[in-house]
């Protein structure tokens, strides 16, 4: 009777349908909140916010350009912090490495959007899509650095080797962010200085414009969190699958001997 119960349990475990995907109730709620945030951003960015005195309607690009840049910075800082925790903690948990990888990937996406929207805005305000200006050049360099970081993550080796080498690279790459942020002050630049994050704390912006920017930052933060959670879970599943495949290959090789 006992063996029958055990067999039935094993059979039901085999027959139980596997749940595909990385969604949970929490991520579905987060995704819904992100969609609402994006709808608000579209309403305020393209509708309710006023035109600028100098830049006219082109100022509307600000509401996607600035949040994507800030969230890219945040993503790279999260990558650096996760990498530091992986490197310096006693457990060396690969979960931190996967969080670093997921955040860097989403950061590269947002940095790419920053560059693309910045080029369009540049075409409208400066008359050219690209200029080898200090801010533009350092931003492009930051983008290429993190594309390189993602390439390094795909090099061969064990998960621990991947985690260690990419963590060191992440800790070096994050040092570029202050350089990008202060480039407009360090060198003469076409790019305007900070409007919101000013050293004197005096925000020189219309109230409705500032609110629209705030809506953009909320929407992009929700999108960032949703994307990183899904990507981190996918990386966990990919690592588990790789380990299982390796274990099976070793078992088959042992059986042959």
């Amino acid at each position: 009777m006992a063996s029958l119960t055990a067999d039935s349990t094993a059979e039901s475990a085999v027959q139980r349908p596997r749940r595909a995907g990385t969604s949970t109730r929490g991520t579905r709620l987060l995704g819904a909140a992100a969609i609402v945030g994006v709808a608000w951003l579209l309403a305020f960015g393209l509708g309710f916010s006023p035109a600028d005195r100098d830049q006219a309607e082109s100022v509307r690009i600000l509401y996607v350009h600035v949040p994507s840049a800030w969230l890219a910075y945040l993503a790279f800082v999260v990558t650096a912090i996760s990498s530091a925790i992986y490197l310096f903690s006693k457990r060396h948990s690969l979960g931190w490495d996967r969080l670093a990888g997921a955040s860097a990937e989403v950061g590269v996406l947002f940095m790419g959007i920053t560059l693309a929207t910045g080029m369009i805005w540049g075409r409208l305000t400066w008359g050219v899509f690209w200029e080898w200006d200090a801010r533009l050049t350092t931003t492009a360099f930051l983008f290429v650095t993190y594309v390189g970081y993602l390439a390094v993550r795909r090099l061969g080796g064990s998960h621990e080797q991947r985690a260690r080498r990419s963590a060191i690279l992440a800790l070096l790459a994050v040092l570029e962010i202050p350089l990008v942020h202060w480039s407009v002050r360090l060198w003469r630049s076409l790019h305007q200085e900070a409007t919101v994050l000013r050293p004197d704390g005096d925000v020189k912006m219309d109230g409705l414009m500032l609110f629209s920017l705030f809506v953009g930052i909320i929407a992009f933060t929700l999108l960032y969190a949703w994307l990183v959670i899904h990507r981190q879970r996918t990386l966990t599943a990919e690592d588990a699958l790789e380990t299982a495949g390796l274990d099976q290959a070793i078992a088959e090789r042992k059986a042959e001997l």
């Binding site: 749940r19 082109s58 994307l227 966990t236």
Partner: protein, 44 residues
Amino acid sequence: MEDAGFIIGSYVITFGAIAIYAFAVLRRARRTTSQLPDEAKPWL
């Protein structure tokens, strides 16, 4: 709206890129997790 093509284009690029990436991540997640038992999915 003045320069509407450029402005709307920048929004299309932004949300189009995010949508394509999100779709790719979800598709990859579905494909990978379907090969694993539920015990190997710590988020469940």
